[in-house]
């Protein structure tokens, strides 16, 4: 990541998030395509659940990437509190924003899987699902919190504190809910290793890498877009004057 030489010189781009974006996008597309090919043509059908078990290769990677994204956002927020550089806050914001989208996807696919294999859209005795819902409920308040603080500097500071607390909350909450619930179905992934046949394991790992790459790619795209927008605004402000370059509309997103 290249950092700015000086923020007031408009001729130099402050940060280049666009670099490597094309090859990264290609790698993401290839990996996800490979993962889908493996899911449909290589991984065997599950003996008891049949075809619907294949949603596992989408649902679990989405959920894992989303949780890692929340923790990642918390780590980036530490960067903001240490340096006071608002770009760290923007990185943290985009990380959490993307993780939320992945998280909603994970919750919906999980619900579909639950309906197909257990007959209910929602089951309380699946600890992973419940703890995931709680984490999602917590991070759903991230944007309302930002919205209700007007001063941009304070907004960044408070959002960073929230992200750090939330990042630490993820593993703790997982532990508490895990212990609160009795297991009803066999663990697919345990700390001792994956309880999967090798062909399913390989497919799963490729899918996980694919979704992780997708997350990184989308993160970089949004960072590049935000960066470009702020540079355009800075140029407008220099050329046209301050009042014209006000951002349109009210937004919780840092800019």
């Amino acid at each position: 990541m290249q950092c700015s030489t000086s923020s007031w010189r408009i001729s130099t781009p402050s940060t280049t998030y666009g670099r490597g974006l094309r090859s990264l996008s290609l790698a993401t597309i290839i990996t996800i395509a490979a993962a889908l090919a493996l899911v449909f043509f290589y991984a065997p059908l599950d003996a008891s659940q049949g075809f619907v078990q294949k949603i596992f290769y989408v649902h679990v990677p989405l959920a894992i990437v989303s949780l890692c994204g929340f923790v990642f956002g918390g780590l980036l927020a530490i960067g903001y509190l240490r340096t006071g550089d608002r770009r760290w806050d923007m990185r943290s914001y985009v990380a959490i924003h993307m993780a939320l989208i992945f998280g909603v996807g994970g919750l919906i696919t999980g619900s579909i899987w639950a309906k197909a294999s257990w007959g209910h859209w929602w089951v309380w005795n699946e600890p992973t699902l419940v703890s995931f819902l709680i984490v999602l409920l917590l991070f759903a308040t991230y944007q309302p919190l930002r919205f209700s603080i007007e001063d941009p500097e304070r907004q960044s500071r408070y959002a960073s504190v929230f992200s750090i607390v939330g990042g630490a909350f993820v593993p703790l909450n997982y532990l508490a809910v895990q212990l609160a619930t009795a297991y009803v179905h066999p663990r697919v992934l345990t700390l001792g290793g994956a309880n999967l046949p090798p062909s399913m394991g390989l497919t799963f790992v490729v899918a996980l890498i694919g979704f992780a790459l997708l997350y990184v790619t989308l993160w970089k795209y949004e960072m590049a877009a935000k960066n470009a927008r702020s540079q355009v605004r800075r140029l407008r402000r220099t050329l046209l004057g301050d009042d014209i370059a006000r951002p349109a509309g009210r937004s919780a997103a840092p800019s």
């Binding site: 917590l138 909350f169 703790l172």
Partner: protein, 224 residues
């Protein structure tokens, strides 16, 4: 440490002179017990149900206190005065968490007998020491997380909304552990005398982690 005690004494004196927060929390808890009586349509409750009712009532009553915690500081310039003084900012966290803890203790001293009177079936005598231990650990967690959440929420535009909305999910693991630890103590047939160690450990771990976390980040909530 001395600063924290001074601020704590200020908060307690304020509360003693205005009687603003704690009576509201107590009344809220009593009314909630009555509501639970009619909502559940039962003369007495026991076991996990009783533990759940008690925990939820205390949590919501605590939410009232959490919302009010920093209001005086914000409205009457207490933050500015505190920031101008050459003192460690963590003292504010200690003082406010201490004040909230004491408020919760007063609340429980009144609400637990009322709970026995209104709703609880089994006797409260044998499991009382265990229950006190569980509630003390729960209060610690509520006090620390409540102070952190209140300090975040008080600077926002919709502070009465933001406080509970952030606070409830953050407190959920502590709520789970409290309810599960208190459940066997309130059982109707064979009440346990000691709470399950696993849940006490979770509660204690949660308290310790969030206390350290609050200590680390609290300074940033008091800047400018």
């Amino acid at each position: 440490m001395r600063t924290a005690l001074v601020v704590l004494r200020k908060d307690l004196r304020l509360e003693l002179r205005t009687f603003e927060t704690v009576p509201a929390m107590v009344l809220f808890a009593l009314v909630t017990f009555v509501i639970f009586h009619f909502g559940l349509n039962r003369p007495t409750i026991d076991g996990q149900l009783a533990a759940g009712v008690l925990t939820v009532t205390l949590l919501f009553a605590a939410m009232l206190g959490i919302n009010r915690l920093f209001v005086a500081e914000r409205e009457q310039g207490g933050f500015d005065a505190f920031l101008l003084a050459p003192v460690d900012r963590t003292a504010m966290l200690l003082a406010k968490a201490g004040a909230l803890f004491l408020f919760l203790v007063v609340l429980e001293v009144i609400a637990i007998p009322a709970f026995k009177l209104f709703l609880l079936g089994p006797s409260l005598g044998p499991p009382l020491p265990g229950l006190i231990l569980v509630l003390a650990l729960a209060d610690l967690g509520l006090a620390v997380i409540g102070t952190l959440v209140s300090a975040i929420a008080v600077q926002t535009r919709a502070r009465d909304l933001i406080g509970p909305v952030i606070g409830l999910p953050l407190l959920l693991p502590a709520l789970i552990a409290t309810a599960r630890a208190a459940g066997p103590l309130l059982a109707g047939a064979h009440p346990a005398t000691a709470p399950p160690g696993r849940w006490l450990a979770i509660l204690a771990l949660y308290d310790v982690v969030f206390a350290l976390l609050a200590y680390a980040v609290f300074d940033f909530l008091l800047e400018d």
